[in-house]
Structure formats: C-alpha cells, structure tokens
C-alpha cells in the first residue's frame, strides 16, 4: 500500500464507541424521570422533518459520481450522533438555567432541525473530509450552534422558533469558514463531477426536500402561526421552482436546463422564507421572496462563485453559499424590512427592536464564522488523519468494494 494510505480501523470505531458510551451514560443521568406526556409537536410533522434531513439531504448530496455511499451513509451517521448530542446539550442547558422542561418528541425535533447546520457545513467540504473530521466537526458545530442560540435567546430575547431558523445561515457560514482549510481538488479531476445517474439521485433528494419543506419551517412554530407559515413556504417554493427553470434556460449558453440549477434553486425559496414566514401577511410577498431567492442562487452560482472563490480561497464543493447562505441572508433582511414596514407609524419607539433583529443575524453569522475558523484549524491536525488531495471524493477509500471488478 502506498505511503499516503490511511487505515481507519484503529481510530474510527473507538471514537464512535466512546461517543456512544458517553451518550448512553449521560442519558442515564439526565433522563431518569418519566417525563412523557402529550406533546405539542405533531408526530407526522416530526416525521417529515426527519425524512428531509436524513433522506432528503442525504440524497441531495449524492451528486458526485464516486461519493454516493459516503454522501448518504455518513449523513446518516452524523445525524444520529448529532441528534443525541444535541438533545444532551439542550438537557444540559436545562440543568444549568432551569428553563422549561420539554417533552421528548419536541427535544428530538429540535435536535433534528439543528442537525441541518451540520449537514449543510459538511456539504461545503463534501468529499474532502474523512469520517473522523466529520464527527469532530459535528460535535463542535452543534455546541457552537447551541451557544449562538442561547446568546440570542438570553440577551436578545429572540423566540426559540425564530432562532431555530438560523440553521441555514449558521450551517452555510460555518461550512464556508471551514472549507479554506481543505486544499482544492484539481479542477480537471474527473471524480469531482456528476453523471446523469448521480444527478437523478440528487433529484430524488431534492424532491423530498421540496415536498416536506413547509413542515420543516412550521414544525417548531407556535400553533396560531403554523398555517401562515405553511402557506407562505409553499408559495415561495413554488415560485422559486418555476423561476429556477426559467433562469436556468436563460443563463446557459445553448438554452438548455442545467440540473445543478434546478437542484439548488428550487430549494432557495424555502430557505429564504423560513426566517420570516410567520411575519408575512400576504402570499404575494412570499412569492416575491421566492423569486429573489431563485435569482440569487442561479446568478450567484453562475457569476459570483468564480470570482469570489478565487479571491477568498473558498472551495464550496456543493454550492452551499448560494443554496443556503445567501438566501438565508436575504430572508433575514426581508424579515427586518417587513418589520420596519409594519411599524412605519411609530418607528422611533421600535428602533431598539429593529437593532435587535439585525443584531441577531449578524451575531449568528459571526459566531458561525469564528467557530468555523477554529474548527477548521482543529480539523487540520495530523492526529485526525487528513486525507491527500488525490483521495478526495472517493468512496473506495472508506467503503468495502467487493464488487470492484464489475466496474463502477
């Protein structure tokens, strides 16, 4: 075997076993009373969210032609680890600050939603990080995300359900901050491409995400706002999907559709509107937001990415900046504008609230960037067995291939 061959047998299993043992022990201490009672999260809505995060995002990322096992498999591993860790973090915060105790289903739902951050960040380094790095990233990122949420809640008095919708922003900017620490694969590497077959699998994931997005945005909201959020999300998604098709034809040279545009731009509307959905009072506003989100995503991935990436040395493997980051920012700005418009008559007295709104999303982005930068430094340690550029986007490096002779 060549010198840069890494054997994970002595590290990955023990790290995972250790984490799981710690989780089981902590669960034993933290959840000793029978706190099960009626839940205010409806179970079907939780199912939808869980389905989106595990199935939808897992297959959404399966567009690299030799990285499909890892895209779906590692996604499952990270989520099950992260959900347990996230539930424990919540439980710990409860112990320290005596918040209101939540029922089990709600804590799992919140944990699943917060795991979106990790999935988005791992998408930014898709194909470049090994399982150890991904697990470490999960642990750090979930802790950082809960910290940022907790600051928002404690000092800026932001509601829990709104704070939870920062997941896209946080995940995207955390991932972008981590990505410069991984060297860029050579541009003409054939592994870094998709095939019609892998694009189709990615479409499978996209469709599930699209269908369940209204549940994602509404699952943690208070009961009265749920319907508004569902309608708004639905209309925004519909518009962004239509716009994606139109713009894709418009921007490609020979007037054909490009699958990558369809994948990301159809979802941008859901990201954008997630932040402000409860405060949108006409469907038309949601539709405009969906349109803008789609424009940003398609044009961004078309023009901006090239210059931005070369300047900042970011290699954004799956375009998370344009699928999740910028639409998230757009949503946050829209939220502030809507708030200003709503309180136009007594703007003076509401100034403080407006500043808080702006403060929250700036805070989320800065916590994400800083913690992402630190995580990136940690991930580059030799201890974590960083993989060489030649092994990027390669399933064979992590998975058994008994069928290698059959061609793949």
């Amino acid at each position: 075997m060549s010198s840069n061959y890494r054997n994970f047998r002595n590290s990955v299993p023990w790290l995972i076993f250790f984490l799981e043992a710690v989780f089981i022990l902590l669960f034993c201490f933290l959840y000793s009373d029978d706190g099960v009672s009626g839940s205010n999260i409806s179970y079907p809505a939780f199912q939808d969210v869980s389905h989106m995060v595990i199935f939808g995002l897992g297959f959404f990322l399966a567009f690299l032609k030799r990285y499909k096992f890892s895209s779906t498999g590692f996604n499952l591993l990270l989520i099950v680890l992260g959900v347990q860790w996230s539930v424990l973090m919540e439980g710990l915060l409860f112990f320290l600050f005596q918040n209101e105790k939540e029922d089990d289903l709600k804590s799992i739902t919140k944990a699943t939603v917060s795991m979106t951050t990790v999935v988005i960040s791992s998408a930014a380094v898709l194909g470049k990080a090994n399982p150890i790095q991904l697990i470490v990233m999960t642990i750090v990122e979930i802790a950082a995300f809960h910290l940022s949420r907790w600051i928002n809640k404690m000092y800026l008095k932001i509601g829990d359900s709104v704070g939870m919708m920062h997941v896209h922003l946080f995940g995207a900017y955390f991932g972008l901050a981590v990505s410069p620490f991984f060297s860029e694969p050579s541009p003409n590497s054939e592994k870094n491409a998709s095939t019609p077959e892998s694009d189709l699998l990615s479409m499978l994931g996209t469709l599930f995400l699209w269908v369940f997005w209204p549940s994602f945005n509404s699952v943690l909201a208070v009961e009265e706002e749920k319907n508004t959020i569902i309608y708004n999300t639905y209309f925004a998604l519909a518009v962004s999907a239509v716009t994606a098709f139109a713009l894709s034809v418009l921007t490609t040279k020979d007037g054909k559709l490009r699958m990558k545009h369809i994948h990301s731009a159809t979802l941008a509307g859901g990201v954008t509107v997630g932040y402000a959905a409860h405060s949108i009072w006409y469907p038309s506003i949601a539709m405009i937001l969906g349109l803008l989100a789609s424009v940003i995503t398609v044009l961004g991935s078309h023009h901006l990415q090239r210059c931005l990436n070369s300047v900042l040395k970011i290699h954004d493997a799956s375009g998370v900046h344009f699928t999740f980051g910028l639409p998230g920012v757009l949503g946050a700005i829209a939220h502030v504008i809507l708030f200003v418009v709503k309180n136009w008559t007594d703007l003076q007295s509401q100034r403080y609230l407006i500043m808080t709104e702006i403060g929250t999303f700036c805070l989320t982005i800065s916590v994400a960037l800083i913690s992402g930068f630190i995580t990136g430094c940690i991930l580059n340690l030799k201890l974590l067995k960083t993989i060489p550029v030649s092994k990027y986007c390669e399933d064979q490096f992590y998975w058994e291939f008994p069928h290698l002779a059959v061609g793949f």
Binding site: V36, K68, E190, G407
Partner: protein, 428 residues
C-alpha cells in the same frame, strides 16, 4: 429441458393469481363490512401511511442490492404486499368476527400491512431462488399461519408485542429460513456470479434502508394502545435506532481488515435496533434502556452478518440471501428476551391484563416453533416440481421472469458527454 425447470409461467401464474383474487373478492363480499361506529380513526391515518410506505418502498428497495434482480425485488415485493394485505385482512378478521362479519377500519388496514411484512421478510431469505408462483403460495400459507400465531400470542397468552418483534420479525425470519432450508440448492454452494451487488444497486438499496429507518418509529407505535404509550414507543424506537446505527458504523469499520465501512452492514444492521426494541417499545423503559437494546442489537446483527451467515450457508445448508436472520431473526429474539426482562422487572399493565415474564417467554417460544414448523411445511409444498422454478444457473436473474430491456455496454453509458472519463472507467 425437464419440466421442473420450465420457467414459462404464462398460464400457471395468471391462473393462480386470478383464482386467488376471485376467491378473495368473494370472501370480502360475504364477510367484510365497514366499522362505522369508531370516530377516532383519523388520528392514526398518518401511521397507516408510514407503515404502507415501509412495506412497499422500504422493503422493496432494501432488496434491490442484487445486480440483476432489481425488477423482481421491487415488483414481486409489490405483488406479495398487495395480495398479502387482502388475505391478511381476512385471516386476522376471522379471529375477531362479530356476528359473522369482519369490520374493517384503519387499524385493521395497519394490521393487514403488518401481516404482509412477515411474507416479505421470508421473501428476503429466499430472494432470487423462487418463482412468482411459489411466492403467491408462500404468501397465502404464511399469512394464514401468522394470523393463527398472532391470535395465540395476543389473545390466548395475553403477551405484549406492540412493535411485533416476535410475531412479525422473528416469525418471518425463521419461517423464511425454514423454507430456505427445504429449498436448499447444492448448486449454489459456490457463490453464484450474480449474487453480488454493484455500486448502483447498493445505492438503490440505501433508499429502502433510509425509508425503513425513518418510518420505524411509526411501525412500532402504530397499534399502541393510547396516545401516551404511542409517544413512548416513538421516542424509545428513535433512540434505539440511533444507538444501533452508531454502533453499526463503529463495528463495521472494526471487523474489516482495512477499517472500511461495509455497505451491506450499513443497509441492514442499522435497522436491527428498531426490530429489537419492538416488544417493549411502549413500556416505560426510558431512552437509556432503549439505547442499550439498540446497541446490543447492532452488535449481534453485525456479528451475525460477518460470521453466522457464512456458517449457516456452508454448514447448515441455509442460504439466506438478504441475511434476514441477522436483521429480523436474531434482533427479534433479542426483542422477545428484552420483553421478558422488562416485564419481570417492572409491573406493566394494559387495560385489564398484567404482562408476566412467563407468558412473554411462552409467546417467544411458540412463535419460533410455529414459524419453523410452518416454514418446513410450506417449503415442502414449494418443492413441488411444476411451480416454475429457475435452474441453478438462472438464479438471481430478472430476465427469467421479466422482459428486461437490452443492456447497454459499459462504455456506451456515459458516451454523450463524458467520453474520455468513461473510457478511463472501462479500463479500470
């Protein structure tokens, strides 16, 4: 060609399938009516949907891992499920008749879906080695026996099995293994060239795995007794699955020489946690105990795949294609044992009955005994030589029973836009 290997089933299959359907329609006409006096049914409709997706999409795609057997896996799976749920409605209904009529509601639809799961699990054990005609017969016989065993367990022994670890998973697995034992094919002793997966077929199987994984909490809680125990079942199953998945990844890397993950294990062993927690899912066992059960299930499932399945194939003459013994059989027994322990330690009461460890043990024992006996009997019937079985070298091949479109050659697949890449691939 001898008649035993005549795989043209144009008349046999269509005659048998139509005959069964006519019988079922007549029986439905005679016995089945709506249950109109139950109003709270809409709350469990989402659970029915989830179970339905698991049966048709989850089980179907889970079995698509064989490189030339995808059509049969998904297609025959659909056939078995569609036939089985009609027959299951009748069989389970006959045990609960009121005034000579079977009343159907959402709950009996869920139960009918459950009964098809047993046949689908057994299908996994004999996957690739049976004809559609044989599968029709197996479905009918197995669901009949299953309904009797379920009645014995829940009504006569008064045992609890909310997620059906014993009555469905252990039953289906051991039934299937007994059938596989009787239908043993010495000609397949050396691995058949088609009995393996490709990169693409494995990723399709992953679709099935994820659907099963995601909807397992619904499966274990669908027939729970009230809202409170339903929530408990959901939470316990979720944590058990989570712990099982994590442990499976760890062990998968550990048992491989080079520390790599194995897709077979990730596809199957990650689900063992859901099976194992089934029996005691609705009891107050706390997430902690559920995670312990899930971890143990993951361990025995991985070890089973690694050591037990090759041993059974070579020494015990049981060729278990999908490894159902490790995914459903062993974790099902573990679930039964967990049920015994939990009822021994805690006092669990539902409605009128108190669950006792003796009855749980009796339920586990009777399930496995009936499954094995029924499986051997069924296997004997399926061995009849005129059921359209394929010859040994035609096993694991769709083209025996399906019209398969002409396969493109490897270098032509991506020829449109990745010419140089695909040529590189072809030479690899």
């Amino acid at each position: 060609m001898p008649s035993a290997l005549d795989t043209n089933m144009r008349f046999k299959f269509s005659a048998l399938a139509l005959l069964l359907e006519v019988i079922i329609i007549v029986l439905f006409g005679l016995f089945v009516e709506y249950d109109s006096n139950n109003v709270s049914q809409n709350t469990i409709y989402p659970f029915f949907q989830d179970v339905h997706v698991m049966i048709f999409v989850g089980f179907g795609f889970l079995m698509t891992f064989l490189k030339k057997y995808g059509f049969s896996s998904v297609g025959i799976n659909m056939l078995i499920a569609a036939l089985g749920l009609q027959w299951g409605t009748l069989m389970q209904g006959f045990w609960h008749m009121k005034g000579g009529k079977i009343s159907v509601d959402i709950k009996s639809m869920i139960n009918a879906d459950f009964s098809t799961a047993t046949a689908l699990i057994s299908f996994g054990a004999v996957l690739g080695k049976t004809s559609p005609v044989q599968m029709l017969i197996l479905t009918i016989l197995e669901i009949t026996i299953f309904a009797c065993n379920e009645h014995l367990v829940t009504e006569i022994l008064q045992a609890t099995d909310v997620g059906a670890s014993m009555t469905i998973h252990a039953f289906g697995a051991y039934f299937g293994l007994a059938v596989a034992l009787v239908l043993y094919r010495p000609g397949l002793k050396n691995k058949h060239e088609n009995e393996e997966s490709t990169y693409h077929s494995d990723i399709f199987a992953m679709i099935g795995t994820l659907f099963l994984w995601l909807f397992w909490p619904s499966f274990n809680s669908a027939i729970a007794h009230d809202q409170d125990s339903r929530t408990k079942a959901i939470v316990n199953t979720y944590y058990s699955l989570a712990a099982c998945t994590v442990v499976t990844f760890a062990l998968s890397s550990l048992v491989d020489q080079r520390g790599k993950f194995s897709m077979v294990l990730i596809q199957n062993a990650t689900l063992a946690g859901g099976v194992a927690v089934g029996t005691c899912a609705d009891m107050s066992i706390y997430p902690f105990a559920a995670m312990c059960i899930g971890s143990i299930a993951g361990i025995i499932s991985v070890l089973g795949f690694k050591f037990l399945t090759p041993f059974m194939a070579s020494k015990l003459n049981i060729q278990d294609t999908c490894g159902v013994h490790n995914l459903h059989g062993l974790p099902g027994i573990l679930g039964g044992i967990a049920g015994i322990i939990v009822t021994a330690v805690r006092k669990e009461i539902r409605a009128t009955a108190r669950f006792t460890p003796d009855m749980q043990a009796a339920a586990l024992g009777s399930t496995i005994a009936i499954a094995l006996a029924g499986g051997i009997l069924t296997g004997g019937i399926l061995k009849l030589p005129f059921l359209g079985q394929a010859s040994d070298q035609n096993c694991f091949d769709d083209s025996v029973y399906w019209e398969v479109p002409e396969e493109e050659k490897l270098y032509e697949i991506h020829s449109n836009n990745h010419d140089e890449h695909s040529r590189f691939e072809a030479t690899m």
